[in-house]
Amino acid sequence: MATTSCREFLAYLEPWMEGERSPDAQAHVRNCPHCSSVIKDLEMIRTEARSWSASEQEAPERVWTLLRAQLEQEGLIRETIPARAGGSAQAAAPRTGWFAGLFPRLPRPVLAGAYLTALVAIAFALSGPVNKRVNEARWLKGTQISTSPLSAQLNFAEQNSNSYVTRSNPVVAASLHQNLAIVDNYIALCEKSVSEEPQNEVARDYLYEAYQQKADLLTQMTERGENVQ
């Protein structure tokens, strides 16, 4: 139990943890197992908390995607100054990585086939006549051709992930399903935008981005499910 001198030590405890150790306080701690145990506890709490910073994670990519969409909507940002944009080759480089990383477990021929389909669809749409309406219809069709294999693969992956994630912690599973519902809503919004403005490059880009987010999330769900097995 706390003694009078322990109560007095309380006044020294805060500065003690900040490194200010008066001779009186040091003498008390040397002779009081109770107070030295309190100090040990507080130091352990501090040490454990410090170790957390090593495991800090980046926010998921969808946070930036949604933030950027909001910034564009509010007219707060404009396109990068071309001289400093880093060149189209650099900017385009991650897209290949994204597609390859979309379904890491799928065989490469399937990936290559889907990628080829997307390229053919885009090339086909681009080669159309100048007539705006015909062109728009082709853009829409092209986008559909390029996205429907992705959509089908995502649905297939979702079924697999669901079977994995149901084995994990129910709280985690609920949170993942909630996130999945958010991403699905986002995809629906993007698909609507693309169907309304098939030639809008930004709308199409957001749609691909939304698919990417879903793929990331499904991968995460599968990994969580595997970890609990």
Binding site: A59, I77, R78, N179, V202
Partner: protein
């Protein structure tokens, strides 16, 4: 097609990114986001203990930052300014959640009934040694009043100094030190309570087992 992909902002220095972002440059915004999102997201995650909410709060903090970036004059460090916004966003959220419009003082100076630390540390001497791990400490942090939680996360987890926390939280350095101390003492109490509850459970399980054998 590559418009929303990560734009290569390379080694663009923070000061230059701030200047360009003040002109509305998209890549500069992204650079600032990439530089700081990890710390802001971690702060939010530690404060609310939920990834979906932490994502929303991170987005909101950066949104507020980018809305106000034209007014940034560099009187304080950019990261301090950003963290102040983030902490305010989180505290606002927690206030809304608790259903009242309590002041920051109330959030950092709870009375003893609502979770403030006791004025002494008497009681049975259970040893925490070996019983503090990430899970039970996070559980205890989740139970801290928001003001204590902010100072604890900023200082003990993220490594900010008291003068920086004072700027972030708009309080005095002495106040920051005192809140941190109270937060740690409250955490100790919560961890002890958890330990005692665990010990009770273990005893109950043991006596049930013994009773079952008789």
């Amino acid at each position: 097609m590559a418009r929303t992909r990560r734009i290569d902002t390379g080694e663009l220095p923070e000061a230059e990114a701030i200047r360009l972002a003040q002109q509305g440059d998209a890549a500069a915004f992204e650079r600032l986001y990439r530089l700081h999102n990890r710390r802001v997201y971690s702060l939010c995650l530690r404060m609310v203990g939920n990834t979906a909410e932490a994502e929303d709060l991170t987005q909101e903090a950066f949104l507020q930052l980018f809305r106000k970036i034209a007014t940034f004059r560099g009187e304080s460090a950019f990261s301090t300014w950003l963290h102040r916004l983030a902490v305010n966003v989180v505290l606002m959220k927690l206030r809304k959640k608790s259903g009242n419009e309590s002041s920051l003082e109330e959030l950092t100076e709870p009375d003893e009934e609502s979770g403030g630390p006791r004025r002494d540390f008497g009681g049975p001497d259970l040893r925490l040694s070996g019983s503090i791990d990430r899970v039970n400490l996070q559980r205890a942090v989740d139970q801290l009043p928001p003001g204590y939680k902010s100072v604890f996360v900023l200082h003990d987890v993220q490594g900010y100094e008291h003068n920086e926390i004072a700027e972030i939280m708009a309080c005095s350095i002495g106040n920051s030190k005192s809140q941190l101390h109270k937060a740690r003492m409250r955490l100790r109490e919560l961890l002890h309570e958890a330990l005692r509850a665990q010990a009770r459970e273990d005893r109950k399980a043991a006596s049930a087992e013994t009773g079952g054998k008789d």
